[in-house]
Amino acid sequence: MLRIATLLPDLLGTYGDGGNATVLVARARARGIACEVVEMRRNDAVPTASLYLMGGGEDGPQRLACEVLRASNFGERVRDGAQVFAVCAGLQILGRHFSVEGDDEFEGLGLVDIATRRGTTRSVGDLCAKVDGRLMVGFENHGGVTTLGDGLVAFGDVVRGRGNDGVVDGFRTESLWATYAHGPVLAQNPWLADKILESALGETLEPFTSVADRLYEERCRELSPRSGFEDRRRDPH
């Protein structure tokens, strides 16, 4: 039984982020793998799970979510080997500190050596990144500029949009996956959903075709550099 926990969807869940859980469950069940999703709401303890999902959120709720998680044993669960897939505000919370609502700095969970400050502009639009040789297509809507600590590996190389800083997007550690592409990025990138499932299950999955493959091909055709689109990397500073 694969247990997936959505962390604080009541605080971190704008922009259809909940879709990531829907996609993972559907793709696991399509392979005959028993799978369930549990939700951790504000007053709940952190449930046991092999994969945690974190969404995006508006400024106030993001801060509140961070406080709730800091007071919980989420950090221990991660250190015990659970996987985490985080997007947008979820990405920022995992780091050392982040700025929202102007320039005030808030302490993050400190599970990874990243820091996020407020950029001078908001980045709203398509976000594409090369991840392990494949194109990830998505959409971003955030005002953060994230700096990775020494030796930390980015999730992907930005080919369109801003991601962390216009050059790379997100980060990747043994247990943490994070991108600025907000939910439901896994709906648009079925291969990425399967990669995360494989990592959480510790096994290789059978191939599975669905209408999502057509969507991915279409988005790639429209957004990839090869289709004549020019690199519009923006300077976030």
Binding site: Y15, T22, V124, N141, H182, A187, R214, L215
Partner: protein, 405 residues
Amino acid sequence: MSSGLSLRDRVAIASVRGVNWVSRALRRGAGTVAGGNIGLKISPHLLVSLARDRTIVLVSGTNGKTTTTALVAAGWGGDVASNTTGANMPAGHVAALARNRTTRVVLETDEAWLGEVVTATDPAVVVLLNLSRDQLDRANEVRRIAERWRAALATLEPSTVVVANANDPLVVWAAGDAANVRWCDVPTPWRADAQSCPRCTLPIEFDDVRWHCSCGFAKPTDLTTSLRGHLIVAGRTLELSLGVPGVFNEANAAMALSALHELGVDLGDALTRVNAVSTVAGRFSVRAWRGRRVRLLLAKNPAGFDALLSTLRADNDDVWIAINARLADGHDPSWLYDVAFETLRGRTVWCLGERRLDLATRLDYADVDVRVVDDLDDLPTSDDPVTLFANYTAFSEWLERSTPC
């Protein structure tokens, strides 16, 4: 009234009318925004001048503003100036006010523009319906809109009555500093954007009747309108028998009637006229397309979509859904994952529009049987009626493509 207008204003008004007449004659759209923009260029305070000495109602909110505006206009009776084409920013307001110089005015107002329009028009009544996620790639964050409303409404004199939804914490926060508010207790099922308190960010607790935060921010108790089974406005019980469908439209009608009561309109007369409205700018209307009867529903954000899905009859109407992601729709169709499409399980849904693959993927993951329609010729022919849900620009296309029944 023209005596109060400067020469500059009069030139500007003539230009608004001229440009809009030409643009209508050339069939370049509904002819509202182009002329309004030129008028505002000639006289930047044209909206102020045109609004002077008139009784103005503004209607704003994420969902239901077009319908509520139409219900206020109909319920008022007689000649009412209104921006019926949905051009709900100042250029559209200027055009509506220049086109019809009657003293009674109701203006649908874009959420992001409400503050400016309140300041410019000195309204008699401001109706605040609800606030939820909608086109977040354009408007960014719904809480910022609530804050901007709050700042603008705090400047109002008591002569302006704010008619506000008491069940939407973001609306209550927005109206909280206004001098004169009538609170309406109307059904508001969408709560996903009001989980944390707009005042202090702590959790808001909801039960069936009330909501509150531990900081003291809570649902108002001095309610003047209530819609719980039956409608009571200012102590009077009214029998709603609307021509437009859904509980959400009953909430819209309740707020429209509250606004009309504040204007001194007899509630009985207003109710008869509001009940008689059956279609608003093509919405809810049954149209004909290639021999099929198609019920057109505009569904452009999660709260609105959920409300409309609940009006879907249990019978075997075919369901078609058309989704685009142009500027007016918002470029990001992620919101489809916030719609409870699981209620369509057991049906086959035909997926249309430029983002039909995003839609089909969403429905497929919700276990709904899908058909991706790359060509309209692939749509099934049959005598059964169709319910078509479409977001903004897709809705316009279907309105144009179909004919009245």
